[in-house]
C-alpha cells in the first residue's frame, strides 16, 4: 500500500531519511532528525509518535524489534519498501526543484558578483 502524501512535510521527510540509515528507536530518531536538520527541527515525542502512527498506517514504516535498556522499553522502527519508494520519490521531487532554482540563480549570482 503506497498512499504517500505529496509534498511531504519536512519532519516526515527527515524521519524517513533518518530511518534510511537503518532501524532506529524513538529517542534515536529525535536525535537523528535534529542532526540532519542542523538542530532546526526538534521533534517532541507527541509529534514524533503522531508521525510514526501516520507513517505506519500508510505502510511507509513498520516496527522492527524491541529491547529494554536501563529499564526503559525501546522499540525500533524501519523503512518498508513502500517507505523507501516514497522517500526516493520525494528526494527526486526536491532535487528537481533544487536544480531548477539553481539554474535560475546562477546568472543572478554572476551579475551581482
Amino acid at each position: 500500500m503506497l498512499t504517500r502524501v505529496t509534498p511531504m512535510r519536512e519532519p516526515t521527510f527527515l524521519i524517513l531519511t533518518a530511518l534510511a540509515a537503518g532501524p532506529r528507536h524513538g529517542y534515536g530518531l529525535i536525535q537523528e532528525v535534529a542532526a540532519l536538520s542542523e538542530q532546526r527541527v526538534t521533534l517532541l515525542p507527541g509529534t514524533l509518535y503522531a508521525a510514526l502512527d501516520r507513517l505506519s498506517a500508510q505502510g511507509l514504516v513498520a516496527p522492527d524489534r524491541e529491547e529494554t535498556v536501563d529499564g526503559r522499553l525501546r522499540r525500533y522502527y524501519r523503512l518498508t519498501p513502500d517507505g523507501v519508494s516514497a522517500l526516493d520519490a520525494e528526494t527526486a521531487r526536491l532535487r528537481q526543484l533544487t536544480t531548477a532554482a539553481e539554474a535560475r540563480l546562477r546568472p543572478l549570482r554572476a551579475r551581482t558578483a
Binding site: 498512499t3 502524501v5 528507536h25 524513538g26 529517542y27 529525535i30 517532541l44 515525542p45 507527541g46 509529534t47 514524533l48 509518535y49 503522531a50 510514526l52 502512527d53 501516520r54 505506519s56 498506517a57 500508510q58 516496527p63 529494554t68 529499564g71 526503559r72 522499553l73 525501546r74 522499540r75
Partner: protein
C-alpha cells in the same frame, strides 16, 4: 517497564491519560522511555511544551485513523455542536436561578411609578419563566413543539395596558417616560419608531397612519418594553408595557461549563466511534453516513438562524440577549435536533458491534 517511583516518569505517565487505553498499553512505556531519555538530569516535572504536545497528540490519537487529514475537522464539528447544545441546555437550567417573572403587584407598582396620571387597564401576569403560547410548557405540548410551533416557546412576560384616553400627547408621553425611567435608575435604550396604517375605531370606518414608539429599559434583573401608539388604534390601548427578567448571572458560567463538558464528551464519543469503525467493522459505512446526517441536522438550524438573529440583534437594542438555544434554531426546529440525536445514537450503537478481525497494526490506537 513497570511503574517506578521516579516522579518525572509518574508525571509523564499521567499526561498519557489523554491517549486511549489501548494506545497507552501498546505505546505508553515506550513513549515514557523516550521522554525520560530526552529529559536533562535533575528535571522533575514535564515542560509546558511537552505537556501541550502530549495533550495534542493524545486528543488526536483518540480519533484513530492516523493517516486521515480530515478526521480532526469532523471531530471538531461534532465537538463544537455537542458543546453548543449542552451549553444551551445548561443555560436553560441556570435560568431557574432567576427570580420569578414580575407578578401583578410588582408590575402594577412599576406602572404607577413610571406612568403617573395614566390609568392601569388590563394586567396579564406571566404564567412561567418560559412559556409556550403564553402558557407553561406541558408534556402534552411536545408534539406541537416538535411539529413546527417550537418558536412559540419564549420567555414569559407580564403585560400591562393603560385604560382610557391618553392624558398627554404622544411626544410628551415619550419624553416624560424616558425622564422618569432614568430618574428611577433604569438604563434606557434609544427609542425605536415605526409607522403603519390602521383603523381608528373598531368598525374601521377610516384608515389612518399611526406611529409606534418603543422604549426599552433595564434595571437590575428586570427588562421593560413600553409601546406608545399614536393615534390609538381601534380598541387597542395607546400604551402597552411588558416586563420580564433578564438572564441571571449563573447563565454565563453554566453555559461555558456545560459547553466545555459537552464538547469534551462529543470529542470522546466521536473518537470512540471513529476508532471502532476504522477498519474491519461490519457497519463502518452506515455509521459514517449516520454521522453525516446527524451533523447536517444539527448544524443546519444553527447556520440558518445565526445570521437572522444577529441581524435582529444589530437592528434594535436588547436589554438581554436571546437565549443560546434560540441561536441554535431551537426549539423552533426541534425536529431537526431530535432527528440528528436519533442518527447519532444509532451510529454509536452500530459502532459498538463487534469488528470482523483484530487491528492488524500492533501499535495502532484501537478500543
Amino acid at each position: 517497564m513497570p511503574p517506578t517511583g521516579d516522579p518525572l516518569a509518574r508525571r509523564y505517565r499521567r499526561l498519557l491519560w489523554c491517549h486511549p487505553r489501548a494506545y497507552r498499553r501498546a505505546r505508553g512505556e515506550e513513549m515514557v522511555g523516550v521522554l525520560l531519555d530526552g529529559a536533562p538530569p535533575g528535571r522533575t516535572r514535564p515542560t509546558l511544551r511537552e505537556a501541550v504536545d502530549l495533550l495534542r497528540h493524545g486528543l488526536r490519537c483518540r480519533l484513530g485513523r492516523p493517516a486521515s487529514r480530515t478526521v480532526g475537522v469532523w471531530a471538531t464539528l461534532a465537538a463544537v455542536i455537542c458543546g453548543l447544545f449542552t451549553g444551551a441546555a445548561a443555560t436553560r437550567v441556570a435560568w431557574e436561578t432567576s427570580r420569578p417573572q414580575p407578578d401583578r403587584a410588582e408590575a402594577a407598582a412599576l406602572f404607577a411609578d413610571v406612568f403617573p396620571g395614566h390609568r392601569l387597564g388590563d394586567v396579564e401576569p406571566a404564567t412561567a419563566l418560559f412559556t409556550f403560547y403564553s402558557q407553561p410548557l406541558r408534556l402534552r405540548n411536545l408534539d406541537q413543539v416538535l411539529l413546527g410551533d417550537g418558536g412559540e416557546y419564549q420567555q414569559g412576560e407580564t403585560l400591562l395596558s393603560a385604560a382610557g384616553a391618553p392624558p398627554t400627547p404622544a411626544g410628551r408621553m415619550l419624553t416624560d417616560t424616558e425622564r422618569r425611567l432614568r430618574e428611577a435608575g433604569w438604563q434606557v435604550y434609544e427609542p425605536m419608531v415605526s409607522g403603519d396604517s390602521g383603523c381608528t375605531d373598531k368598525w374601521c370606518a377610516s384608515i389612518v397612519r399611526f406611529t409606534e414608539t418603543t422604549i426599552l429599559a433595564r434595571r437590575g434583573d428586570t427588562a421593560l418594553r413600553v409601546t406608545i401608539t399614536s393615534p390609538p388604534q381601534g380598541v387597542s390601548s395607546y400604551l402597552l408595557v411588558s416586563v420580564n427578567r433578564t438572564a441571571p448571572p449563573a447563565v454565563l458560567p453554566a453555559g461555558l461549563l456545560g459547553g466545555l463538558l459537552g464538547a469534551g464528551l462529543g470529542w470522546l464519543a466521536f473518537g470512540w466511534a471513529s476508532r471502532r469503525t476504522d477498519a474491519g467493522h461490519p457497519a463502518g459505512g452506515v455509521v459514517t453516513a449516520l454521522f453525516g446526517v446527524s451533523m447536517l441536522l444539527w448544524w443546519s438550524p444553527a447556520l440558518l438562524t445565526v445570521p437572522h438573529l444577529l441581524g435582529h440583534h444589530l437592528d434594535e437594542p436588547h436589554p438581554s440577549w436571546h437565549p443560546l438555544w434560540e441561536w441554535l434554531g431551537q426549539p423552533a426546529l426541534a425536529l431537526f435536533f431530535v432527528g440528528g440525536a436519533l442518527c447519532a445514537l444509532l451510529g454509536l450503537a452500530l459502532a459498538a458491534l463487534p469488528r470482523h478481525a483484530a487491528d492488524p497494526l500492533p501499535t495502532a490506537a484501537a478500543g
